[in-house]
């Protein structure tokens, strides 16, 4: 679709995609290296101790790597989504494009898909780290696959929220700041469990983006988690659509 192609063109003809990809991969690479180096030291030591329990490359390297990746995503995803609508609103191109025979939903899904593709490329490039481990160790493949599924779902939730925020403002900085704040809030909301009482606490935990992600890194696929991420994304895409259409019914 034309909108997807245009958005991808903009991502890759400007430095946006390269900068975000580079930062993401650099940070992930550093985390991976330090976790793996530490792991090799520890495994050397355990070899010399006859009674030490076997240590696990999944638990010691990959699980922390994936959790760290999700935190870095929290930081860089708003940078990918902030311009999607805010820039078009500011420059007025949104008015022009909405005078074309295009539905708002096509425009929205096009932008969402383009951003998701950039994100998938980002994820795919991090596949190098598990691949390296596969060469030198024997990790469980299952948890790696579920972790990537989890990262993908998490990423689309981030993008959906980011697009929604971007559609409400003309200012990219504001869009990035609000989406970062909102994502962080959804990340940490589960912490309220300790003081919110059992009923509300459970709801807060269930709302947390972090809570649902942990199981994926451990190799668990829970339909509740999948439903959570998909409904989170759909909810924010729906809000975006409403915000785009609002000027049509706000007579």
């Amino acid at each position: 679709m034309a909108v997807v192609r245009r958005e991808l063109y903009v991502y890759f003809s400007s430095p946006i995609a390269y900068v975000v990809l580079t930062i993401f991969l650099l940070l992930c690479g550093y985390f991976f290296y330090s976790a793996f180096a530490y792991f090799s030291i520890v495994s050397m030591q355990t070899m010399r101790m006859p009674y030490a329990a076997g240590i696990n490359v999944n638990e010691m390297v990959l699980e922390p790597l994936f959790s760290n990746m999700s935190v870095i995503m929290l930081l860089v995803m708003p940078l990918l989504t902030m311009r999607l609508f805010a820039e078009e609103k500011r420059s007025g191109t949104l008015e022009l494009i909405l005078s074309y025979p295009v539905r708002e939903i096509e425009l929205l899904l096009g932008k969402f898909a383009a951003c998701l593709l950039v994100f998938c490329l980002m994820l795919a490039l991090t596949g190098l780290y598990p691949l390296l481990i596969l060469i030198y160790a024997k990790p469980d493949i299952g948890p790696i696959i579920t972790a990537y599924l989890g990262l993908f779902l998490l990423g689309s939730a981030f993008i959906a929220l980011g697009i929604m925020v971007s559609s409400t403002t003309e200012n990219q900085i504001i869009a990035a700041a609000i989406s970062f704040g909102a994502l962080l809030m959804f990340w940490l909301i589960g912490w309220g469990q300790s003081f919110a009482g059992s009923g509300l606490g459970k709801i807060l935990v269930h709302l947390s983006l972090l809570e649902h992600f942990d199981r994926f890194t451990k190799g668990l696929i829970d339909t509740r988690d999948i439903v959570y991420y998909i409904s989170f994304s759909l909810f924010f895409l729906f809000l975006t659509l409403r915000s785009l259409e609002s000027k049509r019914w706000r007579g």
Partner: protein, 311 residues
């Protein structure tokens, strides 16, 4: 082709347009004229489906712009004010993007892009970034994206703003070439532009239509004037000329030097007193250096209509 009926749009307490109605026939170029803030852009935005009217209706080709928005937009080419374009795209790829969004089939897309590039004279910049081309070319890219997909209706909001005189003439000629084929609404606050390109003019001020006619009729409604340059005593000349039959007013405009003065003589409608003027000047022994009749320009009409409204 375009029917606007009792259209009103309020933004909170502000009434941007108030009960305006007009129509545009197929193939006609309509000048939509008004000072800044008169409600031109608001009217146009309703026509393009950007927001709905508070009350009243607007129809394009018999279709309501709000209820059948998508169908209407298929028939529409729109150039917004200030020409918002994607600066980060190349001209040809941008036009290709516009073509595919406007539903031009893929196999015809490239041909269509070539066609509008030729029509709008964009060959020299077709592979350059839109953000890097001159304002004149940018404006033409704006028109090119409007006519891509060959829509029946063109809505151009101040298409020549900020261009140099040569570019203005080129754009004007381009617009005039659409006459007869496309229905065009040309919004502007530049009067000569409208009188040169448009068959009919709608003048709006403070949200209301104050006049609707051909440029000729609009200018014909005002009394005509004669400009004179005479060497002689001012006061006597003014007094003498005032007494002539058919003259309604005489005023001194300027003193170009060399003992002569310029006068404006206003005549009664339908009377030509030029002969009489010349005769009485010469008979009084003054020297007549220049005489020319000046029809009131659309500008005069416009200013009169707009200021009348204020009073």
């Amino acid at each position: 082709m375009i029917e606007i009926k009792n259209l009103t749009k309020r933004f909170g307490g502000l009434t941007a347009i108030n009960n305006i109605s007009f129509h545009v026939a197929h193939g006609e170029i309509l000048g939509f004229l008004g000072p800044n803030g008169a409600g031109k852009t608001t009217t146009i935005r309703i026509l393009t489906g950007f927001f709905p009217p508070t009350s009243g209706s607007a129809k394009v080709d018999g279709l309501d712009v709000f209820d059948d928005s998508l169908e209407v937009r298929k028939r529409l080419g729109y150039l917004p004010e200030n020409v918002p374009l994607y600066n980060d795209m190349r001209v040809s790829s941008y036009l290709g993007f516009a073509a595919s969004l406007k539903g031009v089939p893929k196999e015809r897309g490239e041909k269509e892009v070539d066609r509008v590039i030729n029509t709008c004279g964009l060959q020299p910049v077709r592979d350059r970034f839109i953000g890097k081309i001159s304002k004149g070319f940018r404006q033409r890219v704006g028109i090119a994206q409007a006519i891509i997909g060959d829509p029946d209706v063109l809505i151009l909001d101040e298409p020549t703003v900020g261009l140099d005189p040569k570019q203005i003439i080129e754009i004007r000629e381009l617009i005039r070439s659409f006459s007869g084929q496309k229905t065009v609404i040309l919004s502007s606050h530049i009067l000569p532009e409208v009188s040169m390109t448009c068959g009919r003019v709608v003048i709006i001020n403070e949200g209301r239509i104050v006049a609707e006619d051909t440029p000729e009729n609009l200018t014909g409604k005002d009394s005509s004037r004669v400009m004179l340059e005479i060497e002689g005593p001012d006061k006597e000349i003014v007094e003498k000329l005032r007494t002539l039959h058919g003259v309604t007013n005489v005023s001194v405009d300027a003193y170009p030097g060399g003992g002569s003065s310029r006068y404006t003589v206003e005549m009664e409608k339908g009377k030509d007193v030029r002969g009489l003027l010349a005769q009485s000047v010469v008979e009084s022994g003054w020297r007549l250096l220049e005489m020319r009749s000046s029809k009131p320009s659309l500008e005069d009409v416009f200013i009169r209509l707009v200021t009348e409204e204020v009073e």
